[in-house]
Symmetry: C2
Subunit: 174 residues, 2 copies
């Protein structure tokens, strides 16, 4: 293998993880799946990527066992598997780091525990009940006035409302 083209010689779990999730757009596809975006056309409209790139990323994630492709009412849908759902802590941690160090420092979204309403901390722990809720028990809320309000595609409009992760999102006509 030529220098710089693969991580195979790294013998490291970070390298192996990046072989699956390290391509451009892959983590944002996963993010959308956590937000409940399941259909190809909705992912396409929300991510602003080419059909070819989205097709390739969905195929890679399905092959790697992070997504499952199902047919629902004649439309294919992509759902996170257990391996995909287990990626949540990494994605959440990346999001928190990004808010602190890659933006203006302000919160864009908050995540609260559906069970008791507590806003989870940097480790994803609920300060009210002390548990670490999985994504299915988290409600994402866009912070008022944050940059997340700039987009007006149908998925972004739907995601302006507090939304439970993993629950299918219904796009809103603009």
């Amino acid at each position: 293998m030529a220098l710089g083209t693969g991580y195979a010689q790294q013998n490291c779990s970070i390298a192996r993880a990046l072989e699956i999730v390290g391509e451009r757009w892959t983590m944002l596809v996963l993010r959308d799946c956590f937000y409940g975006v399941r259909r190809f056309s909705d992912l396409l409209g929300h991510l602003d990527i080419s059909r070819a790139v989205l097709t390739e990323r969905l195929a890679s994630l399905t092959d790697a066992g992070l997504l499952e492709r199902r047919s629902a009412g004649g439309h294919p849908e992509y759902l996170l598997t257990a391996a995909g759902i287990a990626f949540w802590p990494t994605l959440y941690s990346l999001s928190r780091w990004g808010e602190r160090y890659a933006g203006d420092g302000g919160r864009t979204r908050t995540f609260s525990h559906a069970g008791c309403g507590g806003e989870v901390d940097d480790l994803g722990q609920c300060p009210v009940c002390g548990t670490t809720p999985g994504p299915a028990d988290l409600i994402v809320t866009l912070v008022e006035g944050s940059s997340g309000h700039r987009r007006s595609d149908p998925v972004s409009l739907a995601l302006r409302r507090p939304h439970r992760l993993l629950q299918p999102v219904t796009p809103v006509a603009g």
Copy 2:
């Protein structure tokens, strides 16, 4: 901006984070910095990437404020800044996910709390004292018989011994 070339329209802290750390090899450069690899030649030998890619990634990380370039004994060294060190939880979480879902399921490395010896859990918390040690208080130990023993470059040989994160590593002649 053309479709698929940038994340600027995503208005999302994950996208902003990936603009900084999402290029191929960037997270592995950061991993090595946590392992105490500081010199260009040591990074080059341990990562198996081209000089051009490594040069570009170090410049990007320095520009973005995650690394600081210092001169030490006539050699430039790259050290993590506070923003770089704050990336540890994300990298650790990615590593744990990779061990579970991108390899054979076995541990490659363990991380223990230098203060009390507890092996930190998936959230990075020490089960002995209940704190969440920062990387400067963690000792990384390669698991016997794991794939991490396959490499024999001078940095890999040095990292076969338990090693405190962020402390400079001294490469071992093979």
